[in-house]
Every structure is written in structure tokens, then in C-alpha cells.
Symmetry: C2
């Protein structure tokens, strides 16, 4: 088969997409136009998966009581994280806005079915976590497709995963991976919010490869 | 800031990129032109990371004894996986080619530093695996950037991770995630090799979302 030709211009735009993809915590409340969310989720399912197991499970969370339970979970977890910090570290942490749960119009929880029949076990005998990692790549695919459509995504991980699982009443064997806030971002930026707010910055040493 | 405008044409090409990204096991032996591998790895480092921790560690494996050790590891792990299967399942498994270790000109091992100082712990108190998942997204970013340049990537997971770690003499606290075969693919295809060879196919049920 002849693959499509990806031009240098496309390659540059892909680089720009990666540069402008952000973890968004400031959302406009306007919902996405109707088909967009479905289209983004369809695209996410093009992600690689070990043995072609497609272990990702996307849950659209609309019920306000369930959303509240997640918000409470986040607030408790965030308070605990803050209480474990001292002095300037605690001050700086307290100033960060770490989730867009109040404003984001769409909430998507992502789970992994960790031992699916699909794929017939191929490729995960010695490294069973590859199933989880496949679902993580689906999240990342969703994120990039969203960015290409000017849609923002924020991955909330400051959550107790057992409580998040319980709040969403899903299959017992599903592993909670992520709670995504989705919507149009308040602003765009080509640097991480954590860098702009002085929390952390990229390290040039991470762009040197080890030789063996 | 004004984000770049990603046109519908770019969005379509991104979709095509995701459709044509393959797990490649058949490589030409020609090395990549000199700057390409570095450029792809630089691009990979644009991946999201929890707390901006950049926990990915890329190891270029060129030493032939180390490559041999990985090849032996794969052969042992693959034989074990085959021995655990019976009848038709074993026959089908035996017919699959599951790694391009012999022909791929470039071998890259990917590790995660699971408890890095960088990021100052943000976002991983309740979900420490988010560090590993950040490195997984860097692998996926590498994979997509490679596909955009007609470069093939095959993720070998049929490996004993402890033995792979030992064979590559890296820091004790690095977690082995993936061994990537990289080079120009023998052929291009818009369907997974596992599907073309009758092992597994995509499941339409995976493209239905759960509502909560």
C-alpha cells in the first residue's frame, strides 16, 4: 500500500500542535458543538494497543451528583497534598489552580479494562502494564486531536482513584486512569502553566540521550 | 497569546497519521539520515508530564552484545509465551512476527525515573503511576513524529523487564518501559498487522461511550 505523503509543512504543524498542547485548567463554560466530542473520542480509539486489545473505556460524566463526588474527592486530595508541604513550597502550591472542574462543560473519566479477552493476551505476559499504557496512549491521542480543534483538555490526577471508581459505578475490574476536563480554553499558550507560574521548568538535560 | 490555527485540512491529515501509524516489525536495514533520530527524540520531549517532571529516559542501544542480550531475552520470553498456548492458538501465535530486532537499524530502550525530583511531586501523591504514564506519552509522541517522517517504530514488550534493565546497565531506580525498533518500514499499511494476519480485529463496541 502507498502511505499518504506527510509533507514537511505537515511535520512542522504537528510540531506546533505538540508545542501548543496544554494541560488546561481554565475553561469557558460553552459546550462543544454536538458532534465534536464523539469525533474526538472516535479518533482516540485509533491509539495503539497491545495485541490490538483496545482496553480503553471512556465514561462521559454528566450526572451532577457524580460530578460533585469527584469535585469533593479532588478537594480532599488537594488539601492533603497541601498539608504535606511546608513554607514556600506550600505557599506556591496553594496559589496553583490545578483543575478546571467547576467550569469545564464536559467531564470524561477514563478507565482501563486491565485483563481484556480482546487481544488474546498477546504482548502482555511479561509486561502486563502494557494494557494500561495502551489506554494512556488513547488519552494522549484524544488530547492531541482536541488541541487540533482548539479544544482544551485538563487531566486531573489529584484524586483518590478508589473513590473515583466508586463514584462512577463502573465494572469492578476497570482501573481508574484519568478524569479529563474538556472544553474551550480561556486562553492559549505555548508554555506549560506550571512554568509560567514558576513551579517548574523544562530541563535541558532531559534532551540528552544515553548511549549503550 | 494567539494559538496557531489548525485548519480542517491539518485535522484530516492528523487523522490520517493516526490511521497509518503502525507497530512495525519488518524494517529495511538502512539507517536514518543523521539528524532525524535526534529530531524525533527532541519532539518526543514535548509530551505532557505530570508536574512537568519529564521522567522519560531514552537509551540508544548500539553495542552489539547488549543488542544480543535483548534478542535472547525476546526469544526466551516469546518461547515461554508460545509454550503457554495450545492447539490453533499456539499455531497462530507461532506464525506471527512480533519484533524487528534483526533488521531495525536503531534500537531505543525507554525508561522512566519513577520518583524524580523534577516536578516536586505535584500531581502524583494519590496516583504515582502518572509518572510512568508521562513517559508512555513521550513514547507515543515519538511514534507519531516518526510516522509523519515515514519512519517505522515497533514496540517490543515480549521481554523480561528485569533482564532488559540488567542488560542495559542503567540507574537502579529507572523502570524499563519499552524497547523500540526504529527504521524505515518494509511496507506501509492502514490496518494493524495483527488484523491482517487474523489474530485480532478492532471491536466496534470500543467506540461506544458509557454515560454516567
Amino acid at each position: 500500500m502507498t502511505a499518504p505523503f506527510f509533507s514537511p509543512s505537515f511535520q512542522n504543524q504537528l510540531e506546533q500542535l505538540l508545542i501548543w498542547r496544554r494541560d488546561v485548567r481554565h475553561f469557558r463554560t460553552t459546550p462543544l458543538p454536538t458532534p465534536v466530542l464523539d469525533e474526538l473520542l472516535e479518533t482516540a480509539c485509533l491509539a495503539p494497543s497491545v495485541g490490538l486489545s483496545e482496553p480503553w473505556r471512556f465514561v462521559l460524566v454528566n450526572d451532577s451528583r457524580r460530578r460533585d463526588a469527584i469535585r469533593q474527592n479532588f478537594m480532599r486530595s488537594n488539601t492533603q497534598e497541601l498539608e504535606g508541604r511546608e513554607g514556600k513550597d506550600a505557599e506556591r502550591y496553594a496559589r496553583l489552580k490545578l483543575a478546571g472542574l467547576d467550569d469545564a462543560p464536559h467531564h470524561i473519566a477514563v478507565f482501563c479494562e486491565t485483563n481484556p479477552k480482546q487481544g488474546r493476551g498477546l504482548g502482555r505476559a511479561t509486561m502486563p502494564q502494557t494494557t494500561t499504557w495502551s489506554a494512556v496512549m488513547a488519552i494522549h491521542t484524544f488530547w492531541l486531536a482536541a488541541t487540533a480543534r482548539s479544544v482544551g483538555v485538563g487531566w486531573v490526577s489529584i484524586l483518590n482513584p478508589q473513590e473515583a471508581h466508586a463514584a462512577l459505578s463502573v465494572e469492578p475490574n476497570w482501573q481508574f486512569l484519568a478524569y479529563l476536563c474538556v472544553g474551550f480554553p480561556e486562553q492559549h499558550a505555548n508554555t506549560p502553566e506550571l512554568e509560567r507560574r514558576g513551579w517548574e521548568q523544562r530541563n535541558p538535560a532531559r534532551r540528552r540521550w544515553i548511549q549503550r
